[in-house]
């Protein structure tokens, strides 16, 4: 039979086998791809594969989540902390549709995932069979690629292609839907790793002339500013990036997904750009003469009003994805390619330099921000605990070594603003999609991907309850995740907007919460509640010292706001401090 995937393959990796079932072939494919951990939830249409997972359980660990959304987020956490492809599995119908939020999250945040769903038998397709849903149709806009397998013999080639596409180029999620007959049928298994797809160019060729053009702009710049994103991490270009900024002396600001690519205390790290970013890099975006964007996509939360974004600057954009060039911000020089390669090639072309008076401007803005915002957040004099001081206390114990997984909302902005990192792949958050409920399952995946590292989930009381059932997964797998819920009894970010833009009409943002400590204890997770400042540091020390999972609830000031802030539609230079 013909498989219309047109993937070319390496012949030397082929292995001839006896006829096996499609289900067993799936497991064998995963093993050849180096998968040792998958997250999923069984059900009717994927039972043949689960039966094989049972047989192969000594080679391939399956983590039973409590909801399929948790499977995708856990796979994302695993992928983000390891750089490997995360794998999630679910049955047809509701199992498959429950994956969709995580898939959409992975698509917008460029996370490599392979999601495998069971599907009703081929003869039932389109008959509205029990648990039939068109998951290929549903997932098309939120996947890098998807495919429905209806014949067992398609499995090796399609799965090889799935892993190649998920990981290569700009990574993303791939969904493979496998009908039940294809899982049962047997065929002669032969696996060849996919190394190219003719209609897909994973990494664009580097154009030397663009490198030279970029170098000449950088070398002539008096006030250059680098804004870097996750492209540095995904390209594993952290050392090339650091060499470049250190040689050129250019201040470097990060997007939320670029966080941890450069250590927090690096002298050229000038903080976060965007809506709740730092004062200096936002203000000075509109004063720099050359803006060098590296592996970022000019999201609206980064740029504010595009009509008044860096209009004075020449813009250089380094990216692996040609469709990002000129998508939001008009670029003067586009350097396409993998960041590891392009940044390495840039290094010899740029002059050794320093920009001390320009750096001084960042320091001055930082001093203003410290006085007006940071001081009260980290060293509060009022009674209530602030989110920032919780992060400060965590920093003191972890010394920047922990993986911090944040959910979505005020606590996320606080975590990204104040958590300190001295190692890459350490900040894991839902940036583009802003998926509440992301952090708890993502932290499970992160801990399993980096078991030697401390993994701390920072979550709000709202988002926590969206995937709280994953406490069951933590209990069952004994994943030693540290969970910190910053409880302000509000959907805090929405409440902040209601306060600022909707005359304090707090529509449906006040939360009447259960006793989270009792719930954690119900899952046999050690738990503690902090309501007073004097108990905070001791509680955090105890949590970090614990060798097993731990739940810490901190009651924070109910109606604090996150500042600085760029209001919707405002310019980055109109960033407000209160």
């Amino acid at each position: 039979m013909e498989i219309k995937t047109k993937a070319s393959t390496k012949k030397n990796q082929s292995k001839k086998q006896q006829p096996i079932s499609g289900a067993e072939a799936v497991v064998k494919c995963l093993l050849v791809e180096g998968v040792d951990l998958i997250y999923g939830y069984p059900g009717g249409a994927i039972m043949p594969i689960y039966d094989e997972l049972y047989k192969y359980q000594d080679q391939l660990q399956h983590v039973l989540v409590r909801h399929e959304q948790g499977a995708t987020h856990a796979a994302q956490g695993y992928a983000r902390v390891t750089g490997k492809v995360g794998v999630a599995m679910a049955t047809s119908g509701p199992g498959a549709t429950n994956l969709v939020t995580g898939i959409a999250d992975a698509q917008i945040d460029s996370t490599p995932l392979v999601c495998i769903t069971g599907q009703v038998g081929k003869h039932l397709l389109g008959s509205d069979a029990f648990q039939e849903t068109d998951i290929v149709g549903i997932s098309t806009p939120v996947t890098k690629w998807n495919y429905q397998i209806t014949e067992a013999a398609e499995i090796p080639e399609v799965l090889a292609k799935a892993f190649y596409i998920a990981k290569s180029g700009r990574p993303g999620p791939v969904l493979i839907d496998i009908t039940k007959n294809a899982q049962f049928d047997t065929f002669d298994f032969e696996y060849q790793k996919c190394t190219s797809v003719r209609s897909y160019k994973a990494v664009p060729d580097v154009d030397k002339s663009q490198l030279l053009a970029a170098a000449s702009l950088i070398n002539a710049a008096k006030k250059p500013l680098i804004v870097f994103g996750q492209g540095v991490i995904l390209g594993e270009a952290e050392s090339e990036f650091k060499a470049l900024i250190e040689k050129t002396g250019i201040p470097a600001a990060w997007t939320i997904l670029g966080l941890s690519a450069l250590e927090s205390n690096h002298p050229l790290n000038v903080g976060m750009v965007g809506m709740h970013g730092n004062y200096g890099p936002n203000k000075l975006t509109n004063e720099c003469d050359v803006l060098i964007a590296i592996g970022m996509r000019f999201d609206d939360r980064v740029t504010g009003n595009l009509e008044s974004y860096a209009k004075q600057a020449k813009v250089i954009h380094f990216d692996i994805d040609p469709s990002e060039i000129d998508k939001n911000v008009k670029t003067d020089v586009a350097v396409l390619g993998n960041s590891k390669e392009t940044l390495a090639k840039m290094l010899p072309l740029v002059n050794q330099n320093s920009h001390e008076s320009w750096m001084q401007e960042f320091k001055e803005y930082h001093a203003i921000e410290f006085e007006k915002v940071i001081k009260d957040e980290l060293f509060p004099t009022k009674k209530g605990i602030t989110m920032g001081e919780v992060l400060k206390e965590i920093n003191q114990v972890t010394k920047g070594k922990a993986v911090v997984v944040s959910d979505v909302g005020q606590h996320q902005m606080m975590a990204c603003r104040y958590a300190e990192f001295n190692q890459t792949k350490s900040s894991i958050t839902s940036g583009g999609l802003g998926t509440m409920g992301f952090a708890l399952p993502a932290a499970i995946g992160a801990k399993m991907g980096a078991p030697e590292r401390e993994v701390i989930a920072i979550i709000g009381d709202g988002g926590y309850q969206m995937t709280i059932q994953e406490l069951g997964t933590i209990f069952q797998t004994k994943a030693a995740v540290k969970i910190v819920v910053l409880n302000n009894e509000f959907l805090g970010m929405v409440r902040q907007w209601q306060q600022l833009f909707f005359d304090k009409r707090y529509a449906s943002t006040e939360m009447v919460n259960p006793d989270f400590v009792t719930i954690a204890k119900g899952y046999h997770i050690e738990a503690q509640k902090v309501t007073k400042r004097e108990n905070l540091s001791g509680a955090i020390e105890k949590m970090i010292a614990s060798k097993s999972s731990y739940f810490l609830e901190v009651f924070v000031e109910k109606e604090n706001n996150v500042f600085p802030m760029i209001s919707t539609g405002a310019s980055v230079s109109d960033i407000r401090l209160s």
Partner: protein, 174 residues
């Protein structure tokens, strides 16, 4: 910024796979752009399909859509062209009651002057085919309307570009 909208023809060379139409069309619908006409067929290269899509939008949108289309794994190459850069045609079929042909002298004149063809004549109807510009098929529609027009259908635009596309060379390079 040029925010003037006009008609663009977007040509997309793709692998021939199930579900790709959905992926291609969702790139338009995600941006709230209405597809005015869509034709898909085999292209000059074996096993490579070609979509010809006509939509009205701003130039900048058209460029971005091409970028998004090319990003799709199974899209080999996408192009955007203005009407002036392409040779394009549409085809229309008109099913007319046979009485009209026999009774009305005018209808034979209409067929003759419009350079349309009669493709079939049955016991009680006949079918006229006309290939040409939208204006021409529209004119014929208006002309035939008074004569018991039983059915009318018009195809999407098919077009070729004046400039070469070089897809074969591109595929060899993969």
């Amino acid at each position: 910024m040029n925010t003037e909208t006009k008609s663009y023809t977007i040509s997309v060379y793709t692998e021939n796979n199930v579900g790709l139409l959905n992926r291609v069309s969702s790139i338009f619908s995600k941006r709230h752009i209405n597809i005015e006409s869509l034709t898909t067929s085999q292209s000059e290269i074996e096993n490579v399909n070609r979509f010809v899509i006509v939509a009205t939008m701003e130039e900048q949108q058209a460029t971005k859509i091409v970028g998004q289309l090319e990003k799709q794994i199974e899209v080999i190459k996408a192009y955007v062209h203005t009407d002036e850069e392409t040779i394009y045609q549409e085809s229309a079929l008109f099913k007319v009651s046979l009485d009209s042909l026999l009774d009305k002298r005018q209808i034979q004149d209409i067929i003759k002057t419009s350079h349309a063809n009669i493709v079939t004549v049955a016991r009680d109807f006949f079918v006229i085919e006309k290939t040409g510009s939208r204006k021409e098929t529209e004119q014929l529609y208006q002309d035939l309307k008074p004569y018991k027009l039983l059915q009318f259908v018009r195809s999407g635009r098919i077009s070729v570009t004046k400039e070469p596309m070089n897809i074969s060379e591109m595929l060899k390079a993969f």
